[in-house]
Symmetry: C2
Subunit: 124 residues, 2 copies
């Protein structure tokens, strides 16, 4: 009886000169900001505190050459937030990297998945 | 004055169905075991406790369909360790994934690097 293990989830973290890192968490935060139009709603959707979401946005906004997220501080109900052109570009290029790996690396990923134990009852 | 940011370091973590994960740390441990012929020496080279190195090896040996590392318990000076055929294959396929990303994703990686702030004095 042969079971096939599906291809693995890809978690790609890029570490840039100067210390800036960009990975799955920040990418998802950008996606959720684009979807919800709000930094706090994006954080909530990820089970992340408001403070943590803001701190990640600030890190991205200062670490890249231009801000990735534009936000209005404003009023009751909080200001809105959206991705800037740079923010959309960063997310798009990051997703292109993951897609390259998924398509061009499909054979290697399948080979790895084929080497994983199908009975994981003893493993973690 | 235009500065170019070098391409980022790629840290790829693969999460398989069943909970097994394989990423840069385990890959480096396998490389060091192949190089040093010893689990404890491999751990030392990575600033990792003996216990931690053994626990990672055990996790890999049970999580994959066959052990990745063969070790002799033996005697004074400790037994030797080496990669099995499966261990060498896992490392090779993992490195192929990273290479695919580096070559096929070169444009996307360069585009990302080009968007990073060159003056990081204010960032992290």
């Amino acid at each position: 009886m042969t079971q096939t293990t599906p291809p693995p989830d890809i978690r790609l973290r890029l570490a840039f000169a100067g210390g800036l890192a960009f990975g799955p968490g920040k990418a998802e935060l950008l996606r959720q900001i684009a979807r919800t139009g709000s930094i706090s709603a994006a954080g909530r959707a990820m089970g992340m505190s408001y403070k943590r979401a803001w701190s990640l946005v600030e890190e991205m906004n200062t670490g890249f050459a231009a801000p990735l997220v534009a936000s209005a501080r404003g009023g009751a109900g909080g200001g809105g937030a959206s991705l800037t052109e740079t923010g959309a570009a960063v997310l798009r290029h990051y997703e292109a990297c993951v897609d390259h790996l998924r398509t061009d690396g499909a054979d290697a990923l399948a080979a790895l998945a084929g080497l994983v134990a199908t009975d994981m009852s003893g493993g973690r």
